[in-house]
C-alpha cells in the first residue's frame, strides 16, 4: 500500500494532467459554447499547476515506479518543455479568432491527452509503456490533425497520418516483440545489462549465436522513433500533415510530438548502448548504430533542406525545415557520447523557442492574409513590425546564425560531432545550414524587401507580446546560454 501511495505521488503530474483533460472536457460540456475562452484559461491554469509540480522535482533522485515508470530529471526536462509548448499552443488557439467556439473543449482535451501520452513516453524504460504512450500521443494527434472537419486538407492530413502512423507503430511493435522474444523482458535497462544465469536470454548471449535477429529488431524499433521524429525514410507524412492540420496543431506536432520522439530515442539508445556493463553490445553494434544514425542524419537534413527550397506554402516549408532539424538533432545522438546527448537536449530547448515562435507568426499571418503562402506575406513586415522582427529573429535562429540560441545549439552539436569522429557529418550539416538560409530568408524577403502591403495588419497585442518574449528569449539564450546548459547537465541521463 505504501509503495502504491508513493508511486502515485511520483506520477502526480501525470495524474493531474489526466484529470485536467477530463475537467476541460466536462467544462466545455457545461459551458455549452457560451464562454469557450474560459475553457482555455482552465487549461492554462492546470498546465501551470503541472509545471509547478514538475519544477519542484528537478534534481530529485531517479526512481522506478510500478516497475514501469521511470521518474527522473531527464523525463522532467522534456515534460516541462511539453507543458510549456501545450500552454503556448493553447494561447495560440485562444488568439485564433477564426477558430470555432462551439465544442472547443475537445481541442483542449485532445491536446492535454496527447501531453499525457508524451509524459509516459518520455519517462519509461519499459517498452510496453513506451508503446502505450506513443499510441496515446498518436491517436490524439490523428484527431487533432483532422480537427477542422469541414476542410478537405485537414481530413486528408488526418487520413494520411492515421495510415502512416498505424504502419509505423505496427513495425515498431513487431520490433519490440522480437526483442521480447530474444531476451524475455521488455525492460530496456534489464535487457542490456543482464547476462547469464538470472536472465537466460539477455541480449549479450544472443550476440554469440546470431546477430541478425537483434539487428532486425533494433532497426524496426528505430523505425518507430524515426516516424515520430520525422527522420528519413519515415518522414513522408510530415509535409502533408503539417500543411493540412490547423496551425496550432501543427505547432504541437512540430514541437512537442517531435521532442517526445527525441526523448524516447535518447532513452532507448542510452539504455542499450551507453550503460555500463554492455561492452559486447557496444562493441559489435554500437559503432554500427552510430554510423546508421549518422547516415540517417545526413540524408534527413539534406532531403529536408533541399525539399524546403521549392515550397510556396509557409507551413509546408516549416515542415520540411523541421525534418531537417531532426537530422541536426541526430548528429548528437549519433555520437553515442554524453556530450552529444547533452547537445541534442540543448538543441531541443532551442528548437522549442524557435519553432513555437515561427509557427506563432505563421498563425498570425494566416489570420491576416487567410492563406499560408509565402508570396501573400509581401510587404506585411512594414505593417506588423514587431511580429515580423520577431520572425526574423526566429529565422536567424533556425538558420543557426549568432547570437541566437539556435546557433549555440548548432555549435554544441557540431562540437560533439567533430570531437567524436563525425567531422564529415558536421561538414554536411554546415553545408545544409547555408542552404537553409535561402528558404528561411525568402520569408524575410517577402516581409521586408517589398513595398509595404496595403493590407491592414490585425492588432493582437497579447499575441505580439508572447512572440516578442519568445524572440527576446531566442536572442537572450544565445548570448547567455549557461542557464539552459546547466539545466541540461542536471537532467542528463
Amino acid at each position: 500500500m505504501e509503495a502504491y501511495a508513493d508511486g502515485m505521488k511520483a506520477i502526480a503530474p501525470e495524474l493531474v494532467l489526466t484529470a485536467l483533460s477530463l475537467v476541460v472536457l466536462v467544462a466545455d460540456l457545461v459551458m455549452r459554447g457560451r464562454n469557450s475562452r474560459i475553457v482555455g484559461y482552465i487549461t492554462l491554469a492546470g498546465l501551470a499547476v503541472v509545471a509547478g509540480m514538475l519544477a519542484m522535482r528537478v534534481g530529485d533522485a531517479p526512481q522506478t515506479v510500478f516497475g514501469m515508470v521511470q521518474v527522473d530529471s531527464f523525463g522532467t526536462y522534456f515534460k516541462l518543455f511539453t507543458v510549456a509548448s501545450v500552454a503556448v499552443v493553447t494561447v495560440f488557439i485562444l488568439s485564433d479568432r477564426q477558430e470555432r467556439s462551439h465544442g472547443i473543449g475537445e481541442y483542449y482535451f485532445l491536446l492535454v491527452g496527447a501531453a499525457v501520452g508524451i509524459f509516459f513516453m518520455v519517462s519509461t524504460y519499459h517498452l510496453l509503456l513506451l508503446m502505450l504512450g506513443l499510441e496515446l500521443l498518436s491517436l490524439a494527434s490523428y484527431s487533432l490533425a483532422g480537427f477542422h472537419k469541414g476542410e478537405r486538407k485537414s481530413a486528408e492530413a488526418a487520413m494520411k497520418y492515421v495510415v502512416f502512423g498505424g504502419l509505423s507503430a505496427g513495425v515498431m511493435l513487431y520490433g519490440i516483440s522480437l526483442l521480447y522474444g530474444l531476451t524475455g523482458t521488455l525492460e530496456l535497462d534489464v535487457m542490456a545489462t543482464q547476462v547469464g544465469d538470472a536472465m537466460p536470454y539477455g541480449l549479450v548471449p544472443q550476440l554469440d549465436y546470431d546477430v541478425v535477429p537483434v539487428g532486425v529488431a533494433l532497426v524496426m524499433v528505430l523505425a518507430g522513433f524515426a516516424y515520430k521524429m520525422s527522420v528519413v525514410p519515415f518522414h513522408f507524412w510530415t509535409p502533408d500533415v503539417y500543411e493540412g492540420a490547423p496551425t496550432p496543431v501543427t505547432t504541437f506536432l512540430a514541437v512537442a510530438s517531435k521532442a517526445a520522439g527525441v526523448a524516447a530515442l535518447l532513452r532507448f539508445i542510452g539504455a542499450l548502448f551507453m550503460t555500463e556493463g554492455v561492452q559486447p553490445v557496444v562493441e559489435w553494434y554500437g559503432d554500427k548504430i552510430g554510423l546508421l544514425l549518422a547516415i540517417l542524419a545526413a540524408v534527413t537534413m539534406t532531403l529536408g533542406n533541399l525539399s524546403a527550397l521549392r515550397q510556396q506554402s509557409l507551413k509546408r516549408m516549416l515542415a520540411y525545415s523541421s525534418i531537417a532539424h531532426a537530422g541536426y538533432i541526430l548528429i548528437g545522438v549519433a555520437t553515442l557520447e554524453a556530450d552529444g546527448f547533452a547537445a541534442s537536449m540543448y538543441y531541443m530547448a532551442a528548437y522549442y523557442f524557435m519553432n513555437l515562435g515561427a509557427f506563432g507568426v505563421v498563425l498570425y499571418f494566416e489570420s491576416t492574409t487567410g492563406s499560408d503562402r509565402i508570396e501573400d506575406l509581401k510587404g506585411l513586415g512594414w505593417k506588423a513590425p514587431l511580429i515580423s522582427i520577431a520572425m526574423v529573429a526566429f529565422l536567424v535562429s533556425l538558420t543557426g546564425l549568432p547570437p541566437t540560441v539556435g546557433f549555440y545549439g548548432k555549435y554544441l552539436l557540431f562540437k560533439s560531432g567533430v570531437d567524436h569522429g563525425l567531422a564529415w557529418l558536421v561538414f554536411v550539416a554546415a553545408a545544409n545550414s547555408v542552404v537553409s538560409l535561402f528558404y528561411y530568408f525568402s520569408v524575410a524577403k517577402a516581409l521586408f524587401l517589398n513595398e509595404p502591403s496595403s493590407r491592414p495588419a490585425l492588432s493582437q497585442p497579447l499575441f505580439a507580446a508572447l512572440l516578442a518574449v519568445l524572440g527576446i528569449a531566442t536572442l537572450w539564450f544565445g548570448l547567455r546560454p549557461e542557464s539552459i546548459e546547466t539545466f541540461v547537465a542536471r537532467c542528463l541521463l
Partner: protein, 510 residues
C-alpha cells in the same frame, strides 16, 4: 577596468536602441542621434589612436585588454584588445560610419529602420576588430551579415533582392567553413583565445593530434583543411579571385553609403582576419601555400583591373577596382617580408579611404542623373568644377599616384614581394605591374569620359557638390594625401605588431 574599447563598440548599440524607441516620423531626431552615436566612437577612437604605444606590439602584446568569462561552459571569454594591426582599422571604421550617416541623409524610405541597422552594423564590425577570443570573433563576424542583408535588400537598386541574398549565402558559406575549423582548433588546443592559439602554434603544439583520427577530414590532414577552411572563409570577404563574384552585385545594388561602408571597411575584415586569425595560427600551412596565395593576389590585381576596364557602369567599374586593389593584400602578406606585410596592412587603410571616396563620387552623379552609364556622361567639368577636382584627386589616390597613401601601400607591397628573394615572387611582381598600368588606364579613361570633352546638354544645369557631399568626401581625400606625404603617422603604429607577426611566420618557415 579599461572600458575604452567597450565604449567604442557599444555606444552605437545604445544609439540603435534609442533610434528604435523614437517615432518613425522624427527623422531629424533619428539622424541626430545617429550622428552622435557614430561621432562619439570616432572621437574615442582618435584618442585611442594617439594614445596607443606601438612598443606594446613588439612582442605581440595588446593594449586595452579585457578578458572576462562569458560562456564558461564552453570556455568562451569576452576577450578584447587592440594592437597595431587592428588600431588603424578600428579608427577607419568609426570614421566611415560617421561619414556614412550624412551620406545617407538623402535616403527617404523607412529611415528609422535604416539608421538602426547601420548602427548595429558598426557594433559588429568594430567587435570583429577587437575580438581576441575566436568564439567572440565568430559571433561578431556573423552579426554583421544580417544588417547588410537588409540594408542592401531594402534600400538597394533594382536587383537588390538577388544581390542581398547572394551576398548573404556566399559569406555564410565561408563562415560555416570557418566555424568547423574554429571548433577543431578549440578541441585540439582546449582554448578559444587567439593569442594562446598563436603561441601554441609557434611551439608546434597545434597539430590536430588530440582530435579523433588525428584530425583528418575529407582525406586532408588537420593542418591542411583547417588552413583552407579558414582561408576560404576570409578570402570570400576580401574578396580574392575566384571568390569575388558576390562583390559586383552587392556593390552595384547597394545604396551609395552602404557601398561606401562595404568597400571601405567590410572588405578589410577579410584581410584582417587572415593576418590575425588564420596565418599566425596555422603558420606551417601558410608558409607551404604562400606562393599560391601570392598567385591569387597577383591574379586578383590584374584580373580585377582588366574587368574594370571593360565596364560601362560607373559603380561596377569601381567595384572591380576594389577586387584589384585588395589583391595587393594577399601578394604582400604571401611574400613573408616585413615591407610586404606592412604594405598590405597599409593598403587596407589606403584602399579604405580611396575606395570609399570613389563610391561617394559615383553617388554624387547618380543622385543627379539617375544613371551610371560612363558613356552617357561628358564634359561634366564645366557645370561641376568642384566635383571634377575632388574626383580627380580621388582617382589619383586610387591609382596610386606618388604623394597618395595608395602609392606608399602599393610600392611597399611590391618592393616587399620583390625583396623576398624568391624569384617566383619577383615574377609575380612583374606580372602585377600590369595591373597598375591598367588601373591607371581605366581610371583616367573614366575621368575623360565623364568630365572632359564636349558637354552633354542634359547636364548643363547640374548643381555642383553641396556641403553635405563635400563634407563626406573631403576627410577621406585629406587622409589619402596626408598619409601619402606623412606615412609614418600610420606606419609607426603598425610596424612593431607587423614585424612581430612576420617574425612568427618566418620562424615557421624554418
Amino acid at each position: 577596468m579599461d572600458n575604452l574599447l567597450n565604449l567604442i563598440t557599444f555606444i552605437p548599440l545604445l544609439g540603435m536602441l534609442v533610434v528604435c524607441c523614437l517615432p518613425k516620423t522624427a527623422t531629424g531626431l533619428i539622424k541626430g542621434v545617429s550622428l552622435v552615436a557614430t561621432g562619439i566612437p570616432l572621437i574615442l577612437a582618435t584618442q585611442l589612436y594617439f594614445a596607443y604605444d606601438p612598443a606594446l606590439g613588439a612582442d605581440g602584446g595588446y593594449a586595452h585588454v579585457l578578458n572576462v568569462e562569458w560562456i564558461g561552459v564552453i570556455g568562451a571569454n569576452y576577450y578584447i584588445g587592440i594592437d597595431g594591426i587592428s588600431l588603424p582599422l578600428v579608427w577607419l571604421t568609426t570614421l566611415l560610419l560617421f561619414l556614412g550617416v550624412p551620406a545617407s541623409f538623402n535616403i527617404e524610405k523607412a529611415q528609422k529602420a535604416y539608421y538602426a541597422l547601420l548602427l548595429l552594423l558598426e557594433v559588429g564590425i568594430i567587435g570583429v576588430f577587437i575580438s581576441l577570443d575566436y568564439f567572440l570573433f565568430y559571433v561578431f563576424w556573423e552579426i554583421m551579415l544580417l544588417p547588410m542583408y537588409f540594408l542592401i535588400g531594402i534600400w538597394g537598386g533594382p536587383r537588390r533582392e538577388y544581390a542581398a541574398i547572394k551576398f548573404f549565402l556566399y559569406t555564410l558559406a565561408g563562415s560555416v567553413l570557418m566555424l568547423i575549423a574554429i571548433i577543431a582548433l578549440r578541441l585540439d588546443s582546449g582554448t578559444f583565445s587567439i593569442p594562446e592559439l598563436v603561441a601554441l602554434a609557434h611551439n608546434g603544439q597545434l597539430t590536430g593530434a588530440s582530435l579523433p583520427g588525428g584530425g583528418e577530414l575529407l582525406g586532408m590532414s588537420f593542418y591542411t583543411w583547417a588552413f583552407w577552411f579558414l582561408f576560404v572563409g576570409f578570402a570570400i570577404k576580401i574578396p580574392v579571385f575566384p571568390f569575388h563574384t558576390w562583390l559586383p552585385d552587392a556593390h552595384v545594388q547597394a545604396p551609395t553609403p552602404i557601398s561606401v561602408i562595404l568597400a571601405g571597411i567590410l572588405l578589410k575584415l577579410g584581410g584582417y582576419g587572415l593576418m590575425r586569425a588564420c596565418f599566425p595560427i596555422l603558420p606551417v600551412a601558410f608558409v607551404e601555400n604562400a606562393y599560391f596565395l601570392g598567385i591569387l593576389g597577383a591574379v586578383s590585381i590584374v584580373y580585377g583591373s582588366f574587368v574594370a576596364l571593360g565596364q560601362t557602369d560607373f559603380k561596377r567599374m569601381v567595384a572591380y577596382s576594389s577586387v584589384s586593389h585588395m589583391g595587393y593584400v594577399l601578394l604582400g602578406t604571401g611574400a613573408l617580408t616585413i615591407w610586404g606585410t606592412d604594405g598590405a596592412a597599409m593598403q587596407m587603410f589606403a584602399h579604405g579611404t580611396s575606395s570609399a571616396a570613389m563610391f561617394l563620387v559615383v553617388g554624387v552623379i547618380y543622385d543627379r542623373a539617375h544613371h551610371r552609364d560612363l558613356n552617357g556622361f561628358g564634359g561634366l567639368s564645366q557645370p561641376m568644377p568642384v566635383y571634377w577636382g575632388m574626383t580627380t584627386i580621388c582617382f589619383f589616390a586610387a591609382l596610386g599616384l606618388p604623394t597618395m597613401s595608395g602609392f606608399i601601400a602599393e610600392a611597399m607591397t611590391l618592393v616587399g614581394a620583390f625583396q623576398s628573394g624568391d624569384t617566383r615572387f619577383q615574377a609575380l611582381v612583374l606580372f602585377s605591374v600590369i595591373g597598375i598600368v591598367i588601373t591607371a588606364a581605366f581610371l583616367l579613361w573614366a575621368i575623360q569620359r565623364v568630365f572632359l570633352g564636349p558637354l552633354n546638354e542634359k547636364y548643363k544645369g547640374y548643381p555642383d557638390m553641396n556641403f553635405r557631399e563635400i563634407f563626406c568626401m573631403a576627410p577621406l581625400l585629406f587622409l589619402c594625401v596626408l598619409l601619402g606625404v606623412f606615412p609614418h603617422l600610420i606606419l609607426d603604429k603598425m610596424e612593431p605588431s607587423i614585424t612581430h607577426l612576420v617574425n612568427l611566420l618566418q620562424s615557421a618557415a624554418n
